[in-house]
């Protein structure tokens, strides 16, 4: 039967997410994960690798990334540099080929997980340039003519922050999951995983305050799960009394990262006191 992902001790996955991972595994299709920042898109790949006991390769996409960079990069300058000295054989181009995250996962002798992080950061055409490699799971190094084919098709997990729309041809090939923002009950479980020793009342109060913050429509950037976890950590270290939370928000800087939002909040508080 198929490998089955049900989350890990540190990573709580909803039924829908588990199912999406398992379908992607069974059908050997890439899994595209979207969701608000801080909902654990990137952590998913680590959790899946850990749960399935597979090596994880990562490729963090940047605005200047080209599709080929994930497979390999040919370091011409290093070779030119080495050509001045006799200590390395510059005729051997292979030593100047460096494999990227995707390339490494294809070459891996064991089944692996590969994370293509924030694919929407790159150029609009970027995902289309990857279609062939993702379909065939093979690539050719042009400089040497070597053809590399994956012995085990890796599980490809792709994350997107929705900065750009992805091309249809690409979407059609993917299994898709949108990580919804956790509700308060699930959030309590997530917090428990990260702060097992924290008092129940503090967690309750902090979560209540956190969701209240998220409902403020004026905020430019709403605080996310990871920020809540940091905040609770700060509250614990600072020995903050849960009852104070209804009155004020200590260590606000861990939750709110934009100056405008701090101003908005200060105005809001002032209005509330009046």
């Amino acid at each position: 039967m198929f490998a089955n992902f049900t989350g890990t001790a540190d990573y709580i996955a909803s039924i829908e997410l588990q199912e999406a991972v398992n379908v992607a595994l069974a059908l050997q299709r890439p899994l595209l994960v979207k969701g608000e920042p801080g909902t654990g898109k990137t952590l998913l790949a680590e959790a899946v690798a850990q749960a399935l006991d597979r090596p994880l390769f990562t490729w963090h996409v940047k605005s200047t990334s080209r599709a080929q960079d994930g497979l390999y990069v040919y370091d011409a300058v290093q070779r030119l540099h080495d050509s001045r000295f006799e200590d390395r054989d510059v005729d051997d181009i292979r030593q100047y080929i460096r494999f990227g995250g995707l390339g490494q996962s294809f070459l891996s002798p064991d089944p692996s997980v590969v994370l293509i992080d924030e694919i929407d950061k790159a150029d609009l055409e970027f995902p289309n340039d990857l279609l062939h490699e993702l379909d065939r799971m093979s690539f050719t190094v042009l400089e040497t003519g070597d053809r590399h084919e994956a012995t085990h098709r890796p599980l490809v997990i792709i994350t997107s922050n929705n900065e750009k729309e992805l091309p249809d041809a690409f979407l059609r090939r993917c299994i898709f999951h949108f990580i919804a923002f956790p509700d308060e009950a699930l959030m309590a479980r997530i917090v428990k995983v990260h702060h097992p020793a924290v008092r129940e009342t503090l967690v309750q109060e902090a979560i209540a305050r956190f969701y209240w913050l998220r409902t403020l429509p004026e905020l430019r950037k709403r605080p996310s799960t990871s920020e809540l976890i940091d905040w609770i950590g700060a509250l614990v270290k600072g020995g903050v009394d849960p009852d104070q939370l209804a009155e004020r928000v200590p260590y606000l800087g861990t939750l709110i990262k934009k100056e405008q939002d701090l101003d908005t909040l200060a105005r809001f508080e002032a209005r509330r006191r009046r």
Binding site: F2, I15, V23, L27, L80, K164, L171, R172
Partner: protein
């Protein structure tokens, strides 16, 4: 329709599921046959036990590729497998689209003619008079300043030559653009074609190298190294950057709002993607006069003269508007549609000044080309090369701007 159990994925089940596929397509979810086959493949591999929740998760993960569609998919799923009410997504979106304070009254030709009796100056006098008389909110009716009536004052009403006070415009008389048509444009342009439009916008760039030298220039490095008798000499070059400066002026405060939002979002996206050297967006209402505004509510103004001093002539000017207005808004002093904008110079003259200053300019018009016979559209078209706000029109406009 009956609710089949998830485990019945045999041949009979697949035909039943096929109806589900066509239901999804019927309500407008972009499910392709490839995705359908992926779903069937997953069923064939026995991925689903007799658990409806997992079956639902499997179907959603394979068939839906955008969280925007989750809601509609859920409605279809509950309809098909649990006999719930069929989805009414189309009507719902239409409702949202038309969420105006009050519906526009349908007036007969005779009623419109009867209302077409006041001139501009007369209207202004009457308006000021009634402002003094009126002291409470008023919706409907035909005299007071309020919403949805046939008084010449207020908003969302229908009067052939009225003064609008805030709110959004309702009936358009010369160009009969039905609400339904605008809605269709919204569906195809914003929801379905945003990506295509962004691809078109990528052409809006003029690449050039200057700034910090941060990239290795391989060709010149090899050349310099060879000249240096093989001793390595690395030559750096600045990265290629977009040098284009873009100024966007958008008509807001009426039927143009959705188009302004669309275009503003598109250009912001393009700015993020291709990084214009400078990108500025301003708003106006119907016609540009002595001020343009940084916000759509038109509170934070900048003098148009200041704008032209500030931005150099090579800045690409893109205006988004229907160019459709009462002739006096363009040609009369004090003809602005907004009462508070008492313009001493005509709109026509302001547009001419903008046209004289910005060498590369284009006007994007969401009205179909065949309706462009209107006098103000023709007049503006003489100063600004005009293009339809469609994929093709945008492409032509960009070609014109980068030529």
């Amino acid at each position: 329709m009956s609710a089949p159990g998830a485990a019945e994925a045999g041949p009979a089940g697949e035909t039943l599921f096929l109806d589900f596929f066509y239901l999804l397509r019927k309500v407008g979810l972009p499910v392709s046959s490839r995705e359908w086959l992926t779903f069937i493949e997953a069923l064939d591999k026995g991925l689903v036990a007799a658990d409806l929740y997992r079956f639902y998760a499997l179907a959603r993960a394979t068939l839906v590729k955008d969280e925007k569609h989750y809601d509609l998919f859920d409605q279809c799923f509950t309809h098909f497998f649990a006999g719930a009410r069929p989805p009414r997504a189309f009507e719902k979106a239409l409702d949202e689209w038309l969420s105006e304070p009050l519906p526009i009254p349908q007036l007969s030709e005779e009623e419109l003619a009867a209302l077409e009796q006041y001139g501009l100056d007369e209207l202004r006098e009457m308006f000021e008079e009634r402002m003094r008389e009126q002291d409470e909110r008023h919706d409907g009716g035909n005299r007071w300043i309020g919403t949805g009536g046939t008084s010449p004052f207020g908003h969302s009403g229908q009067h052939p030559a009225g003064i609008r006070v805030g709110g959004s415009g309702g009936g358009r008389r010369a160009v009969q653009v039905a609400a339904k048509r605008r809605f269709r444009a919204y569906r195809t342009d914003i929801v379905l074609e945003t990506r295509q439009l962004s691809v078109a916008l990528r052409k809006l760039r003029r690449l050039g190298r200057d700034g910090r030298r941060t990239e290795v220039d391989i060709d010149h490095t090899i050349d310099a190294t060879a000249r240096n008798a093989g001793d390595i000499e690395v030559v750096m070059a600045p990265p290629r950057e977009n040098r284009l400066k873009v100024l966007l002026l958008m008509d807001v405060g009426g039927s143009m709002d959705p188009f302004a939002r669309l275009v503003s979002r598109l250009f912001s996206a393009a700015h993020q993607a291709t990084h214009f050297r400078e990108f500025h967006a301003f708003y106006f209402h119907n016609c540009v006069y002595d001020k343009v505004y940084r916000d759509a509510l038109m509170l934070d103004g900048l003098s148009t003269l200041e704008l032209m001093r500030w931005l150099q002539p090579e800045t690409r000017l893109i205006v988004v508007g229907d160019a459709h207005m009462a002739p006096y808004e363009l040609s009369a002093t004090y003809g602005a549609i907004d009462y508070w904008q008492q313009n001493e110079v005509t709109g026509q003259a302001w547009l001419q000044r903008l046209g004289d200053h910005f060498r590369h300019r284009a006007w994007l018009n969401p009205i179909e080309k065949r309706w462009w016979m209107h006098p103000t559209i023709t007049a503006i078209g003489e100063v600004f090369p005009m293009f339809e706000l469609t994929l093709e029109g945008l492409g032509e406009a960009i070609e014109h701007l980068t030529a």
